[in-house]
């Protein structure tokens, strides 16, 4: 029954998965296709001219690290790819995470699904699993696009394939956390509009909070509230070590979101 629900949720979202996969593959390929022409631009000077906040927004917490400052390619990658990919995947996570509950409510199918012999806990877990499974192909083709792009256009660029894989594993966990957030809102409001809207507002707020927290010292603590604080891909490239702390933090946020969804949804009246 649970697997049937997972399959059903995947099926209802298959077009979204296809289009996001095509889009992310094209995007990562395009980033690398533009690299040869961008390598003539003095990117360091461009970034140095930016306020610290903007630089932090592009480069994350590694924005002052020597390896990043010295590596023109890292700066390019951070500003063109690793900044935007999580925003796209956060959108996907919120949209699909909310949608697996709220869209069912909107089309009157939630009643039918919950009238089946399945507990609400299993229902939520099945839906969450489906969102993660749906995100996997998008993230895989995104990483593939980057690796293929480096092979085709990345002359002189050294990009570790293993680090790229690990970064995308982190991106998947990041997406899972946003999806869990979306599911919390969907279980609270049920309506798609409010769930998507509030979810999107919270993600944007978290992004801005992360930027502000990195440049305004008294607010540094507040950055830890933001999901984006735990997305530090350049650290991976610089150190070559998997960022366990951030990965565990993102897993904890996803688990907390999932747990919260279960608690809310189990007691939720499903009224027409």
């Amino acid at each position: 029954m649970t697997w049937a629900l997972v399959r059903h949720a995947l099926r209802t979202r298959r077009l979204a998965v296809i289009w996001f996969s095509v889009g992310m593959f094209g995007f990562s390929l395009l980033v690398m296709a533009l690299w040869p022409s961008s390598s003539d631009i003095d990117f360091s000077a461009y970034l140095e001219g930016m306020p610290e906040g903007l630089r932090a927004a592009f480069l994350g917490s590694a924005f002052n690290e020597e390896a990043v400052v010295e590596s023109f390619f890292y700066q390019y990658l951070a500003s063109q790819y690793t900044t935007w990919a999580p925003l796209v995947l956060a959108y996907f996570g919120i949209w699909v995470g909310s949608g697996v509950i709220a869209r069912e409510f909107d089309r009157d199918t939630l009643d039918l699904l919950l009238a089946q012999p399945v507990t609400r806990t299993r229902f939520v877990i099945a839906k969450f699993s489906a969102v993660i499974l749906a995100a996997i192909p998008i993230i895989v083709v995104s990483a593939l696009g980057l690796i293929i792009g480096v092979i085709l256009w990345g002359e002189g660029v050294e990009l570790s394939g293993w680090d790229t894989i690990l970064i995308h594993v982190n991106l998947l966990i990041f997406t899972a956390a946003t999806a869990a957030l979306g599911m919390v809102f969907a279980s609270l409001f049920l309506e798609p509009g409010r769930s998507y809207g509030l979810g999107a507002a919270v993600v944007i707020g978290m992004y801005l909070l992360n930027v502000v927290a990195q440049v305004v010292d008294p607010l540094e603590w507040s950055g830890y509230i933001s999901l984006f604080r735990y997305w530090q891909p350049l650290e991976q490239y610089i150190t070559g070590e998997f960022d366990w702390f951030n990965a565990v933090a993102l897993v904890a946020i996803a688990a907390a979101g999932l747990f919260g969804t279960i608690i809310i949804f189990r007691r939720r009246d499903i009224a027409a």
């Binding site: 199918t109 009643d111 039918l112 699904l113 919950l114 507990t119």
Partner: protein, 298 residues
């Protein structure tokens, strides 16, 4: 007439309030095995809320409910294994074909392909088309097949014949009767009184969230007033000569009167006169139903 085993659906003091709105109030109900039970009331009377409580979609404010002996909240999964639900809002995936939709729900509910094919044939449904291209009636057929393809002891059916043509409505009625003969229970919520009259063994009338009566359809109708119009060729009975009748109008040889309850005494009294023409209007469930609602406005 009341069928066999009792207690397939049982509610005890079942109550649901939304703030100050009392959607369902102290509902005590017992629906038996092998019975089609009609749940009547106008829109907003609390019929759908009751069904949602039985499915565990809503949590009761107080009271309890069980299906096939399983408490709908504490043993929700087990109780929902015993039930199939036909909702008033179709709940369709527009991008699927009918076949895909039915197969999806068959995976959830463990329905048999043979039963599905039989229902599709009997309701004259083409399930190969995309749902978004189907008429309202054909969409409703898909919803019916989805619900009735499951082999369960209890069927909760909410306003099922919306959009169906009369022939399909008849076939749907026959299918429900077969389900009943198999010993299953059908809980039919409707405001179409002719539907309840033709299908149900017993009906419960719900008014503003309260159950005002539960009776067999026959006794509900039998208790109603019948109207007679009789034309006599000879003497016309005087007031008091027709025991149990209340004369409403005299017009030469024609007499109009009404009888409450049994008509036996009146028929025997009429036998003493020469009658050339007699018409009587069969009381309907609608009349009985309206009585409960006219009482409210008085």
């Amino acid at each position: 007439m009341t069928p066999g085993k009792s207690g397939q659906i049982v509610t005890r003091g079942l109550t649901k309030h939304y703030g100050s709105v009392q959607a369902v109030n102290d509902l005590d109900l017992e629906v038996n095995e092998g019975e089609i039970f009609g749940f009547l009331g106008p829109n907003g009377a609390g019929k759908t809320t009751t069904i949602r409580l039985l499915l565990g979609l809503l949590r009761p404010t107080r009271g309890s409910a069980s299906i096939a002996g399983f408490d709908v909240i504490r043993e929700g999964t087990a109780s929902r294994e015993m039930v199939s639900f036909l909702p008033s809002s179709p709940g369709l995936y527009e991008y699927m074909t009918g076949n895909e939709y039915l197969a999806t729900f068959s995976r959830f509910g463990g329905a048999s392909a043979a039963r599905r094919s039989e229902l599709i044939e009997r309701l004259d449904l083409d399930p190969s088309r995309k749902i978004k291209s189907l008429s309202m009636g054909n969409r409703q057929k898909i919803v019916i097949v989805r619900a009735l393809q499951n082999d369960v002891p209890v069927y909760l059916v909410d306003e099922p014949t919306r959009g169906l043509d009369p022939l399909v409505q008849q076939e749907f009625g026959r299918i429900l009767n077969e389900i009943k003969r198999d010993g299953r229970t059908v809980f039919l919520s409707t405001h179409v009184l002719s539907e309840a009259e033709s299908l149900c063994d017993r009906v419960g009338i719900l008014r503003a969230g309260r159950l005002v009566t539960v009776e067999t359809v026959a006794s509900l109708i039998g208790a109603r007033v019948r109207h007679f119009t009789v034309v006599f060729s000879g003497a016309v009975p005087a007031d008091g000569e027709l025991a149990g009748a209340l004369v409403l109008r005299r017009d030469g040889s024609e007499l109009q009167f009404e009888v409450s309850g049994s008509v036996d005494r009146v028929i025997k009294a009429l036998g003493r006169f020469e009658v050339t023409h007699l018409t009587t209007e069969e009381p309907t469930l609608e009349e009985a139903f309206l009585r409960y609602y006219s009482d409210e406005s008085e």
